[in-house]
């Protein structure tokens, strides 16, 4: 059985022309197939974890090591997004007050941030579909970054999260956890 799985390259995979090595001639080209061959000889024990990686398993792996799939080589598709994106800041948060023209959001960079930041946004900054979602309590993510294509432009994007509602099982688990926490609090 063919023991090599060759997939289209990851969209976030490195471009491979003019490959370089650190402390070697940076002009030295390395082919993708060579890189796969070098990418893992299994020195560190079971390499199954890389089954869930975007890099295919090494051809050096023995047949019993991987789940094998015999498929034809797939041509690398065009990139999913044009240009590149550099993330400068990312805030998570929720809508705390929605008005007719604007809304206020409580935002934090990490879950340990305190106090949280409050910011006001015009509803116009949201896409039409997202405006309906911007209700009190709705979760959102605000990213600020550079989008580079022919030129560099600063981009501020607000994305209203789309999560399925809580299932009855999840609600039950949350209530149980809250009850346990309440029980364990020692009031003084």
């Amino acid at each position: 059985m063919n023991n090599t799985v060759i997939l289209g390259e990851s969209v976030s995979e490195q471009p491979r022309e003019g490959a370089a090595t650190m402390s070697l001639n940076p002009k030295n080209p390395v082919r993708w197939s060579e890189r796969i061959a070098r990418s893992g000889a299994g020195f560190f024990g079971k390499p199954e974890a890389r089954e869930t990686s975007m890099v295919p398993p090494s051809p050096q792996a023995t047949e019993s090591t991987f789940h094998h799939i015999s498929i034809p080589r797939i041509r690398k598709p065009s990139p999913a997004s044009k240009g590149s994106y550099i993330l400068l800041k990312k805030y998570s948060g929720f809508v705390s007050n929605r008005g007719d023209q604007s809304f206020t959001a409580q935002l934090y960079e990490s879950s340990t941030d305190y106090p949280v930041v409050e910011a006001e946004f015009e509803l116009e900054e949201l896409s039409p579909a997202d405006r309906e979602l911007a209700v009190d309590g709705a979760a959102l993510v605000w990213t600020i970054g550079y989008h580079e294509e022919d030129s560099r432009r600063c981009e501020s994007l607000i994305y209203m999260r789309r999560r399925p509602g809580w299932s009855s099982k999840e609600l039950g688990e949350a209530e149980k956890a809250a009850a346990e926490l309440t029980r364990d609090i020692e009031w003084k």
Partner: protein, 228 residues
């Protein structure tokens, strides 16, 4: 003062789910009908292939790829990570009886470094050449370094981390770090149970897993400083 650049030159994320899938389902129209994507996102979708065996299309800065035993979604635009997480959670909430056996969260990041001297120093520090390589080979260089580590918690598993020279000439000299943070579902979990675990894994471990490549790169650049 820290010499580490604070902002990566590029950042991406790929999620891979191993299991049993029906690629033909994952048509852009299906996502639209399930209200997982917006109409304008699908209008710009670029479909490469959709058949019983394979599904491959890009939309809204993300690329979805599915075969019978592998589902993946990725982006080179890290601002899409929350969008991607919601899409995955929405998809597998609807397909709640999909048997899945493993999931990997694979972040990538590239940082430009100050100059070639520091770039070589990083390679030589992570993979010293003096003890073994210089004696045997001409101009040995670190092309890829892979480290395996463990992660614990509710979803214990292995994390593979790679450090490589950045290949993109726009990020030269630079380093490229990628990680594979994975969880293998218990073999005795049923299809609905495994999907439920997948959803929990994608919620609970998401932030930590997504940040792992960036954290490693930042530590490398913080610890390995240019010569004064």
């Amino acid at each position: 003062m820290s010499s580490a650049p604070k902002i990566p030159a590029a950042e991406g994320l790929d999620i891979v789910v191993i299991g049993s899938f029906n690629p033909a389902i994952f048509h852009p129209e299906w996502f639209l009908r399930q209200k997982l994507v917006r109409e304008e996102e699908i209008a710009e979708a670029q479909i490469n292939a959709i058949s019983k065996e394979i599904c491959d299309f890009s939309f809204s800065g993300m690329k979805l790829f599915c075969m019978n035993d592998r589902f993946s979604i990725g982006t080179g635009n890290i601002s899409k990570s929350a969008r991607m997480q919601d899409l995955l959670i929405g998809t597998f909430t609807i397909l709640s009886h999909t048997p899945v056996s493993a999931c990997g969260i694979n972040p990538t990041v590239a940082y430009k470094v100050k100059d070639d001297k520091l770039w070589h120093k990083i390679g030589n520090t992570l993979a010293p050449k003096d003890l073994v390589w210089n004696e045997l080979f001409e101009k040995p260089g670190m092309n890829s370094l892979c480290i395996k580590a463990l992660h614990s918690g509710e979803f214990p598993g292995e994390t593979f981390l790679w450090v490589e020279p950045a290949q993109d000439q726009r990020i030269h000299p630079g380093i490229f770090v990628r990680a594979n943070y994975s969880y293998n579902f218990p073999k005795d979990s049923g299809s609905s149970e495994s999907t439920e675990l997948l959803l929990k894994f994608l919620i609970k471990d998401w932030d930590d897993a997504c940040a792992i490549a960036r954290k490693l790169a930042e530590v490398i650049l913080e610890k390995i400083k240019p010569d004064e």
